[in-house]
Every structure is written in C-alpha cells, then in structure tokens.
C-alpha cells in the first residue's frame, strides 16, 4: 500500500506542472459551458489527437489507395479508381495464393491468421502459468518477477538481433548443442522451425508484461475464497477451474484484447529476425505493407494503403466480435 502511495505520489508530482496550468482553464470552461458540457471538455484533447493522428491517416490511406504515382502529397496523385484493389485480387485461382500476382499479400494475410491465434494462445498460456507460479509463496519472488519482465524493456530490434545471433548456424544455441555432442540445426532455414521461433521470440519478448498484469489479477482474488475451498478439500484442478479462472476472467479479457492487438501488429522483431523467410513462411501482413509502401523503392503507397484497408476490414470484423464478447462484461 505504501508503495502504491509512493508511486501515485511521484506521478502526481510530475503531472502537477501541466495540471496547474490547465486548472483555471477547466474552471473557466465549467463556468461558461455548464456541467453538461464538461465530459466533452475532458474528451476534446484526446479526441483531437485521435482525429489528427489516428483517423486522419486512415482517411489519407483511403485516398492513397485509389490514386497512383509515388508522390506523397495527395494533390500530386492522379485518380486511378480501384486499380490497386484489382491488383491485389488478381489471381488465377482464388484457392491457391501462388497463382495471385500479389501472392505475398495473401501469404502474409494467411500467415497472420495462423500466427495470431497460435501466438496469443501461447502467450496467454505461458504468461498465466508463470503468473500462477509467481503467485505462490516462494522465495525470491521479486527476483523472478524482474527476470520475466526484463525482456519487455528491450527494443524490438535488439530482441531480434540477439535471437538471430543465437539461432544462426554458428550461433550460441548450436554452440550449446555441439558442446553436448549433438548436431547443429539450421533453425531459421526450415519453414516450420522458423515459424516456431517467430512465435517463441515474440512470446519471449512480451510475455513479462502480460504475466505481471495476470499476477495482479491473481493477487486481487480474496484469500478466503481459497481457504473455503481448502476446507471442502477441493482438488487443485477444481480450485483452478472453479475459482481462479472465473475470478480472473475480467483480467484475462483485458490481457486477451491487448495481446491480440499486439500480435496483429507484430512487425519489427520478425522483420529483423527472418525478414519473412524462409521464402515467405513467416511474412506477416504488417511487414508486407511496410515493404510495399516504405522499404522498397519506388514506394507504392497506393498498393500499401489498399492492403492496409483490406487488413482494416478484417480487423474490424474481429473487433466487432470482441466487442460482442465483451458486452457481457460491462464494457
């Protein structure tokens, strides 16, 4: 409790400076507009920023997707209609991505649709297990907590380079294997093992964050509930499924949503680690859009924008499903 107080004290102290400047403005606003309009006054700064830096880019992308040329300013770009969408859908056979002119887009979309569920399941499963372990009365809890959280602080590029260095032919993992008399494996050369390591590395890097949130959720479950279960001599598994999971559900929901968002947006780590290879086995949709619209000259903003809007359509469906799922949870 004291720790929380100290932390909130620190935050308050830091935030006090801008707040002092804002206070008279807010008081004035309340006087002028009345209490009814106050929620809007609170919302305006964030809404403006969202409008300018989140929604506006989406509209610019919409505009890019129906215009051509590699010019940046909308005025310089001629209208080309749905040509970019046609290019994306230009396939010989819709069941086989290799017959598509932009086969990489479809492969990337397909990979993402496999990657996200696998990674989210692995992430939440491992994070939950770790959180349960850390929630026990064990020695060195703070130490282990720090260890599991540590990779979260590394930048994605560093994470990727570190693991690339570990997994390459002459890397540390193979060094370890040869020292115990096993053969070297070229981890990133085979599609399946490259995919496995893509999931592994991203889970490694972000798991700590979710572990800590889940740990917090576990700790908020009142002890007496467990005591009661102990009285009834319930089996550990029963305790877990009947008490822990239901009481953790709200936390799990938040973790799930954040985890899915992060997973869909996975880019930097894999871009550096595998570049989407071998072949296109680990290329994810964000990498595809980045390469088409930014990394490869001449940049094709239009095609990238069209791809991103298609991605947006797919995500929108997922978000709606999520919101529906969440409705029961007072969202």
């Amino acid at each position: 409790m004291r720790a929380t107080a100290a932390l909130s004290g620190a935050i308050a102290a830091l935030a006090a400076l801008p707040a002092r400047a804002v206070e008279p403005v807010m008081h004035g606003a309340q006087k002028a507009l009345g209490i009814k309009q106050m929620p809007w006054v609170f919302l305006i700064p964030n809404l403006l920023a969202v409008l300018l830096f989140s929604l506006m880019p989406v509209f610019i992308n919409l505009f890019y997707s129906v215009t051509g040329s590699d010019r940046l300013y909308p005025v310089d770009r001629p209208y080309i209609g749905g040509a970019n969408y046609e290019t994306l859908f230009d396939c010989g056979n819709y069941l086989d991505p290799s017959t598509c002119s932009r086969d990489l887009f479809w492969r990337a979309l397909g990979n993402t649709l496999v990657f996200v569920p696998v990674q989210v399941a692995a992430m939440i499963g491992i994070a939950l297990f770790t959180a349960i372990c850390l929630n026990r009365d064990i020695r060195g809890r703070g130490f282990f907590r720090s260890i599991f959280f540590f990779p979260v602080m590394l930048s994605p590029v560093v994470v990727a380079l570190t693991w690339q260095w570990i997994l390459q032919r002459n890397g540390a993992l193979n060094g370890l294997l040869t020292s115990i008399g096993l053969n070297r494996v070229n981890w990133l050369v085979f599609p399946d093992s490259a995919f496995f390591w893509s999931v592994f590395v991203t889970v490694w890097a972000h798991m700590g964050f979710f572990t800590i949130i889940l740990l917090a959720g576990l700790q908020s479950i009142p002890r007496d509930v467990y005591e009661a279960a102990k009285m009834d001599a319930a089996s550990p598994w029963r305790v877990f499924t009947r008490i822990t999971l239901p009481m953790l559900k709200p936390t799990l929901l938040v973790v799930f949503i954040l985890c899915v968002i992060r997973s869909v947006q996975t880019f930097d780590e894999l871009y550096v680690l595998t570049g989407g290879g071998p072949g296109s086995a680990t290329i994810l949709i964000v990498q595809y859009i980045y390469e088409v619209g930014f990394a490869i000259q001449p940049r094709n903003f239009g095609l990238a924008a069209a791809a991103s809007l298609l991605l947006g359509a797919v995500l929108m469906i997922f978000t709606l499903i999520q919101l529906r799922l969440a409705r029961g949870r007072n969202l």
Binding site: F42, L55, S155, V158, I213, G312, T319
Partner: protein
C-alpha cells in the same frame, strides 16, 4: 574433504528452497514451480546476459565458433627477436605431452611456432588442430571506447532526446488519456458511445501501416526534425484510454456525487478524487508508454532528420549499413541503451509490481 564441505552447502540450498511461509514441508507442486522458474530464468535471462558479456569481446572473439559465453583474450608472451608479443598455445606433441609454444604466424592448417623458453631452438611447424590457444577471461573495453569516440559528446544528446521524448510523451499521455477515460467512464452524455467507438476503433490500427500518412501530417504541422513531431502523434493511445476507462468504471459513483454535493468543480473531482484512485492503472499506462516511447524506431527514423534530434534507438541503427552489421559496436550500444531501463526497473520493480497488483484491472 570436499564431500564434507559439500554436504552443508547442499542441505542449505535444500532448506532455502523448501522454506515456505505457512507450511513446513514442500510438496511436489513447489518443486515443479521451482523447476519451472529456474528454466524460465535460463531462457529469459541467458540471452540478455550473453549480449552483455559479448559486448566485452574482441571482434575476433565475437565471430568464433563455437561461441564462448565469457569474453576471452589470448595469453601473449614476449619472445626475444620479435617486436610484438606472440600468442601462446598449448600444443600436444606426438609423444603425448603438452608444450607451451608461442605462435609466430599461421598459414592455413599449419602454424609456425617457437618455444618462448628456448627461442634459440628455432621454429617448429605445428598442425593447428593440435594447438589450443592459452586464454584467460578478459573484459575488452574497446567496443565501448570506439562507440564513445564515434558518437563522442553526441551520446549525451541522444540520451537527452530519448529521455525528453519518453518523459514528455508519457506525461501528456497519462493526463490526456485519463481525462478522456474519466469522461467516458463517469458521465452519461449524448455521444458517449460514439466517442468511445471512435477511440476504440483506432485500437487496432498498426502504427507501421499509417506511417506515411502520419509523416505527411507531421510535415504539414512543420514538425519534421522536431522532437514534438514524434511526441504528438503517439500521445492519444487508445490502449491507455481503454485501460483507464475499464479501471475507472470500478470507482463508485457515490464518491463523485458526494464531492459534487460539496461543490467541488468537475476538474477537482477528476484531479483530486478519480486520478489518485486510479493510480495503479495510471502506472500501467505509464509503463506502457515509457517502454514504447523509449524503444520507438520507425516514426523517429522518418521524422527526426538531424543528428541533434536523434534518439538512442536511431543511433543504434547507425551500426547497420548497406552491406554489414557492426556487431561489436551494436552490442555495446545495446547494453548501454538497455542499462538505464534495467536500473530503473530494478529500483522501481517493487513499486511497479505492487502498483499493478493492487489494480486487479477489472
């Protein structure tokens, strides 16, 4: 002797591991827990430790296979008649003994060696396979020295820029997001749902995908090459609003009603009541923001076009050029950029963890 000494140590570890609060004996689940945590310790920490240790390796030590865990330096010896000290090797002779020889030069699978004790005996040709370098653990500071000399005084500038962006963006994020969350959680007003949906919709937009349009807007605002150009586009995090709103929903409305009875202004209610009560969730949002801002790469890469406004991450990227990656300096830089965060975390982790712990984000 050694067995006797080992036993108390062994039982001490056992005692340490099994000592538990509340109960006296450990059951199998405790063993499982410890086993898992130690495997976790190895998997999570070994790569990081390895990076740190590798940053102290010489370029030659860095690329050898099998890679060494610790940084090594080859033992050298002064030999009469040679200007430079020669590296020492342990050579297995045909008779089965080992001799200490100094290597003069190596040509493919063979090496010319000389006995440092008896240089007058002349040169011997030895197969490289029979020679093992005599090495000792040594921390090589050259990578750091080179790093400091190439970035020079700029390094502090990068640290400053990174810190400025991180701190300012996080402060703005926390205040702005919590204001919005407060409005969305604690007021019933027309457009409430609309505003919520507008913010949540942006939750799923990957920043990479809107990189070019975002740059266009930053350029139109005249903020290219300006630290504010990477701060402003990142402050309206929908994740922050979402998390804070979820948390604020759990704050009882009676508190706010009571404050209104006492004629507190809406701002005071927000600032004096809701915000302090949301401290744990604010901590989560703050950590989220600090980590992402500190590690941000793509937007700074396009927006920050001058060296004076570079961040540490951009400086880190300078060690990859068209044709090669300079691992030696990259490792040193990695260690240097991760260190501040590591220290911050070690000192703050109790606060952070207990902060989040008491949220029980619902």
């Amino acid at each position: 002797m050694s067995e006797v000494a080992a036993r108390p140590v062994h039982s001490a570890i056992l005692q340490f591991l099994t000592r538990r609060r509340g109960r006296t004996r450990a059951d199998w689940t405790d063993w499982l827990t410890y086993a898992y945590l130690f495997v976790g310790l190895a998997v999570m920490f070994a790569p990081v430790l390895w990076v740190v240790l590798s940053s102290f390796k010489t370029p030659v030590n860095l690329v050898e296979f099998p890679p060494t865990f610790l940084p090594y330096a080859v033992e050298t010896v002064e030999v009469e008649g040679f200007d430079e000290p020669l590296p020492l090797y342990e050579v297995a002779t045909e008779e089965g003994e080992t001799r200490l020889l100094a290597q003069i030069r190596r040509v493919g699978l063979n090496a010319q060696m000389i006995d440092p004790a008896k240089p007058e005996a002349g040169r011997v040709v030895v197969a490289v396979a029979d020679a093992k370098p005599v090495r000792h653990i040594q921390f090589y500071w050259g990578n750091y020295a080179q790093l400091l000399s190439t970035s020079g005084s700029n390094l502090w500038l990068y640290v400053y820029n990174s810190l400025f962006i991180t701190v300012v963006a996080t402060l703005i994020t926390v205040v702005m997001n919590s204001m919005a969350a407060f409005a969305l959680a604690k007021y019933r007003f027309k457009g409430n749902t609309l505003a919520l949906v507008a913010i949540l919709m942006t939750l799923m937009i990957p920043p990479t995908v809107v990189l070019v349009p975002t740059y266009l807007i930053v350029a139109q605002l005249g903020l290219v090459g300006n630290l504010w150009g990477v701060i402003l586009p990142t402050v309206a995090t929908p994740t922050g609003v979402f998390l804070l709103r979820q948390y604020m929903l759990t704050i009882p409305d009676e508190l706010i009603e009571a404050a209104r009875m006492d004629h507190a202004s809406e701002w005071r209610i927000y600032w004096r009541i809701v915000l302090p009560l949301s401290a744990p969730a604010l901590a989560v949002v703050a950590i989220f923001s600090i980590l992402s801002r500190w590690n941000d790469f793509l937007l700074p890469l396009v927006v920050l076009n001058r060296r004076e406004v570079f961040t540490l991450q951009l400086a880190l990227a300078s060690f990859q050029d068209e044709n090669q990656i300079h691992y030696d300096q990259l490792l040193a830089m990695t260690t240097l950029t991760a260190l501040p965060l590591a220290f911050a975390f070690i000192f703050l982790q109790r606060y952070i963890a207990s902060g989040i712990a008491s949220t029980g984000i619902k």
